[in-house]
């Protein structure tokens, strides 16, 4: 069973439905004990970083999430669920994240480009990522975000996207996969990624 963490942030139903579409059993969970029982965990989310951390903390979910990751069970972070893995975010002040991946979350620079970065953009894979198999070299994926992640260790960046400059659009470290884009909104290739994640052992 794949647990989709429900902590009050955004459209989780589409994540659940997309996982079901690819044949996985997915359940929205918001209680710590339900999370402990999950083989795989998906941490989705759109909205503000600070609210999201509070949402996790208030529900007592931070411990179970960290334990899940430490026990090497597969984990997929999506959008804010990617950013929350980092040490800290500069969104609306400076806020601590889960610090599973060292680095920080920063805002796109003010220049001629529109913010949020919203729409379909190419994701260029730099490595052979297990959950990205069966995809073209640089598929279009759907993004909606104003902040992006800067990992201290560049080797965790497995895909980048160009928006004025290259930013990290996917990270992979051991059992942790996380995307800045929304696979649940990225049509066929997004579903391929979720199918691959659901099939991980």
């Amino acid at each position: 069973m794949i647990a989709v963490v429900d902590y009050g942030m955004g459209n989780l139903r589409s994540v659940q439905k997309a996982l079901e579409r690819v044949g996985a059993q997915a359940k929205l969970v918001e209680r710590p004990e339900e999370l402990e029982a999950a083989e795989k965990l998906v941490l989705p989310g759109v909205g503000a970083f600070k609210d999201a951390m509070e949402g996790l903390r208030d529900r007592g979910l931070i411990g179970p999430i960290l334990r899940h990751i430490r026990e090497s069970r597969p984990f997929l972070g999506i959008c804010l669920g990617l950013q929350l893995l980092f040490t800290e975010s500069m969104e609306d002040g400076l806020h601590d994240g889960l610090d599973v991946i060292h680095g920080r979350v920063v805002r796109f620079p003010e220049n001629h480009l529109k913010i949020p970065h919203m729409g379909w953009n190419r994701v260029s894979f730099k490595k052979d990522v297990p959950i990205a198999r069966g995809m073209p070299e640089a598929p279009y994926m759907y993004f909606v975000h104003s902040y992006y992640v800067c990992p201290d260790d560049p080797s965790v960046t497995v895909a980048t996207t160009d928006y004025g400059s290259e930013f990290t659009s996917m990270v992979w470290k051991d059992n942790i996969f996380a995307t800045q884009f929304h696979p649940e909104k990225s049509q066929a290739y997004g579903l391929t990624l979720l199918r691959n994640f659901a099939g991980l052992c």
């Binding site: 459209n11 589409s14 759109v46 529109k114 919203m118 729409g119 379909w120 953009n121 160009d162 909104k185």
Partner: protein, 269 residues
Amino acid sequence: MLAKRIIPCLDVKGGRVVKGTRFLNLQDAGDPVEVAAFYDQEGADEITFLDITASHEQRDIIIDVVANTATEVFIPLTVGGGIRNLEDIRRLLKAGADKVSINTAAVKDPELINHASRRYGSQCIVVAIDAKRIPLATSRDQGRPLPSVPSNTLRWEVYINGGRTPTGLDALEWAKEAEARGAGEILLTSMDCDGTKEGYDYELTRRVSESLDIPIIASGGAGRLEHFYEVFTSGKADAALAASVFHYRVYSISEVKRFLAEKDVLVRF
């Protein structure tokens, strides 16, 4: 870089698609879920539902339509029409909408934009603006729909209640205010061009797009392939919305995208 988006809009009334009789290969061309799935397969970058249900009692039907669509279609879904308050927004998002577009309610209570974007995030709050050119008293061409006049004298007025009620608001100023209050996107419809099939209002679109940092979806007037090209190039739109050209199968979405790609406009395939 970001691809330009092509967004088909479905007018939905009492849970049924109002236009769309030319979908010969669909079992039920009136079923919004089926039509949305069809557009998804054809390459639509997003889907927009405009709920034009008039009666209050039937307004819950759109919630079911959204919920059913969210199990079939895995591209972004925007829902607009008749949204009055935070509770309406919450229910649509919970049912599976990715964004909601608010029009009349935002004009009547601009604070709604602030509250909604703070609560749910700017990315899901689209402010829809229906704009109409203000006839120029000095122009002898007053009767013509799109007079050619020095651009610094052109102005557009915001209309609400489905284009029935003028507000006195300047469309460009209102768009800026909507952005400042937290809108994540502007859906900009030219009332002058809507239904003409003679092209978008490129001047309006360009002015708003250049004055704002958030994406602009142009709407109203698409009739030929060139219109899509023009709205992305001279209009500087980030996305183009169209209804009848797609519903009546004048063009498929993939035809539009192929045309744009041949002219070096970045689109997703």
